[in-house]
């Protein structure tokens, strides 16, 4: 498959180089908000949405910065964009969809310091994606984040019911589970190589 094609970029961010399990981005919410499936689902929706918005904004700002040869301000601008994108999303949701706002509300501020969001912006710049590629990349990354966090939440809900040794409390067990999940995701690696 052509590595530049939109479908492949999406697939790569979604499965092959899964943002959480292969690139280690967005681990804080992955560990923190994966205890219940419905919260995990809401979190991944909110994250995907912010990823999409900030990826589009980052693309615009990057073209402006490159035009004026101000690349050294990139990082600072991206952070500012993400913080404002989160605020914007919060305000829009509050106004137009109070139900969704109540569901996502508490997660929105958390998303600002989610490295997956900044990761999307930085990687799309580093790889020189054009506008549509950036959009495909951000959606793939969001979907990948959602998939990983949902899988984890499902596993943890099952574990609630089982008897575990004391030393596996807190994050240690989550890390082990993530390791096994990550290993299964490595099976997707060959997807793009044939053809």
């Amino acid at each position: 498959m052509n590595p530049e094609s939109l479908g492949f970029i999406f697939l790569s961010a979604f499965l092959i180089n899964n943002f959480v399990l292969a690139m280690f981005l967005g681990l804080c919410p992955f560990v923190g908000v994966s205890a219940k499936r419905d919260t995990a689902f809401n979190m991944s929706l909110a994250t995907t949405f912010v990823m999409f918005v900030s990826s589009v904004c980052a693309y615009g700002v990057n073209s402006i910065l490159t035009h004026f040869e101000l690349e050294f301000l990139r990082l600072i601008s991206y952070i500012a964009i993400i913080a404002s994108a989160v605020q914007l999303v919060e305000m829009i949701l509050k106004k137009f969809s109070p139900t969704l706002f109540r569901a996502l509300g508490i997660f929105l501020p958390l998303i600002t310091t989610n490295c997956a969001i900044l990761g999307v912006a930085l990687f799309q710049t580093a790889r020189g994606y054009d506008f549509f590629q950036s959009v495909a990349f951000s959606l793939g990354a969001g979907a990948g984040f959602g998939l990983a966090i949902m899988l984890m939440a499902g596993l943890r809900e099952k574990l609630e019911l089982s008897k575990l040794p004391n030393i596996t409390q807190a994050a240690a067990l989550s890390m082990m589970l993530a390791g096994i999940l990550s290993m299964t995701f490595m099976g997707f690696a060959g997807l793009g190589g044939t053809a």
Binding site: L21, A22, M23, F24, L25, G26, L27, C28, V31, F72, L75, I76, I79, A80, A83, T113, N114, C115, I117, L118, G119, L122, F123, A126, N166, I167, T168, Q169, A170, A171, A172, L173, S174, M175, M176, A178, G179, I180, S182, M183, M186
Partner: protein, 225 residues
Amino acid sequence: MAQTNKKETPLTWDVFTTGLWKENPVFVMMLGLCPVLAVTNTVENSLGMGAATLFVLVCSNALVSALRNFIPKQVRITTYIVIIATFVTLVDYIIQAISLDLYNKLGAFIQLIVVNCLILGRAEAYASKNSFGKSVISATGMGLGFALALVMLGSVRELLGSGQLLGIRIFSENFEPWIVMILPPGGFIVLGCWLLLINYVHQRKTESLINQDAAASHCSVPQQH
């Protein structure tokens, strides 16, 4: 100045060691996990990342602490983020100037230091409330604790994953490297194992403390009667 000094506890050795081990940012507080797992496939990368994070942590906390009485509460988070992003940009260019090779290996994870919750967390929770000297010392302790955790992970992964440490071969040629260790799953599993080990040691300690207490109270019972 007066009101901030009033709250302060005296500067002790503890300020430094808390971050180093007792409240280790990685093993105890689980902060800043992205770089912990992403770049620790060799000791060299771990050291580079640890040093970069230490630099950003110390500099930004020093500046936040120095400016703490001038920054209005309403805009403090924005200000902190701008300060942190500045130092990260500096580190980004400095590493490129020192070694392009290391820069290519660490890749985007240098810039991702900005969203390392450890740095913003310390700025908000410690540096904004404490004196310059204490903030710097505490940040140094935290940064070293973070680097220590990175190196602990990196050395296990490099040793098992390629049979060497810092590029020097430790195991003989006959050693079949556990390749999974330098791959992403290895990061999760090694961190999980360290956490298990730490939990285990911690539990043993509490258990023996409880046993001692129990023994002590047991002995004292007859004397009271």
